[in-house]
């Protein structure tokens, strides 16, 4: 599978490029709002110095709220941009820490999200794989894991190096007994030629990747 030879993949790559362009524009808009809010804050500060506090405290509180929301928006756009770039190339050197970290962050945008305690391994764990399909697999597994959790429960997502390459482990996943992994996850695992294991009794889902899956 490679960009340029597969019409389906080319369309996906086009979609990714368009999303990257759009996220770039949104980032510019947020930067403009941020600068305008900053200017408002500057002017309020000047008014405070010249005329005393008056209603300035309230204005500062409101401009502070705008800045907080801009920061929040910037983080979402940053993740959107990173995700959009995951279809730049069909196969690539991927740091498992980056892929798992991105999906742990994006999981907060899912419907009915659960808390994810992300624990990346030190350094980088590089494998040759499809960044987009790997992220899709992690997304499917997160949704599967969330289904077994109550709103108060969270799960741990951890990465580690292995002799073969690297592993991503979902742990603390309650309510797995009697369930089987989703077909979509099994298909993706097959396409990526990686090992996917459900240890229901331990509340663990394990993904193991080789260094050079595409070879």
């Amino acid at each position: 599978m490679s960009a340029g030879s597969n019409p389906g993949w080319d369309s996906l790559a086009f979609c990714g490029r368009m999303n990257a362009h759009i996220s770039h524009k949104i980032r510019n808009i947020l930067a403009t709002v941020s600068e305008t809010a900053g200017l408002l804050d500057d002017l309020v500060e000047m008014a405070e110095e010249q005329d005393g506090a008056g209603n300035c405290g309230r204005l500062r509180e409101l401009s502070g709220r705008i800045v907080e929301q801009i920061d929040r928006g910037q983080k979402v756009v940053q993740r959107m941009n990173q995700f959009a770039h995951s279809v730049d190339t069909a196969w690539a050197e991927v740091d498992i820490n980056d892929a798992a970290g991105l999906m742990a962050s994006l999981s907060s945008n899912m419907p009915y999200p659960r808390a994810v305690d992300y624990r990346p391994a030190d350094g980088t764990i590089t494998v040759n794989t499809s960044p987009f399909l790997l992220e899709q697999l992690l997304y499917v597994l997160l949704r599967f894991a969330f289904d077994g959790l109550t709103p108060e429960q969270g799960l741990t997502l951890a990465t580690r190096s292995t002799d073969r390459g690297g592993a991503v482990e979902f742990s603390g996943v309650a309510g797995l007994s009697g369930r089987r992994l989703p077909d979509e996850a099994l298909k993706l695992a097959g396409a990526l030629d990686l090992d996917l294991e459900l240890r229901a009794d331990q509340g663990i889902i394990l993904v193991e990747l080789d260094h050079n899956l595409a070879d």
Binding site: H24, R27, N28, A31, T32, E35, T36, G38, D42, M46
Partner: protein, 124 residues
Amino acid sequence: MTRVLLVDDEKEFVSALAERLALRGYAADWSVTAEDALAKVKAKEYDVCLLDMRMPRLSGLELKQEIKKTAPCMRFIFLTGHGSEQWFEEASSEGEFCLIKPVRVEQIMETIAEVIKEGKGGAA
């Protein structure tokens, strides 16, 4: 007083940033087109130019080369909203000062001070 020219096609962004810098003691002008930036550089001296990497007709690097024909000692700081790690690494490796939007005004002031101190961006 440090003289700064801000060039960015996002008018509301660049005008607000110029006003914030002016409140902090900079002589800050702004342009939203390459043509206007070149005209300002011909009419007035600046110490530093903050330049958007992606302008409609000229890239930031191309505009830098045009400006340097008139103002060879001008120093440059590039701004981008793209946040592409590859672009950032390439530009940084060429010795450019690069900031990714959004950027705090304090960080811009620190970078202006740094670029003036180190004299980077002045070489052709």
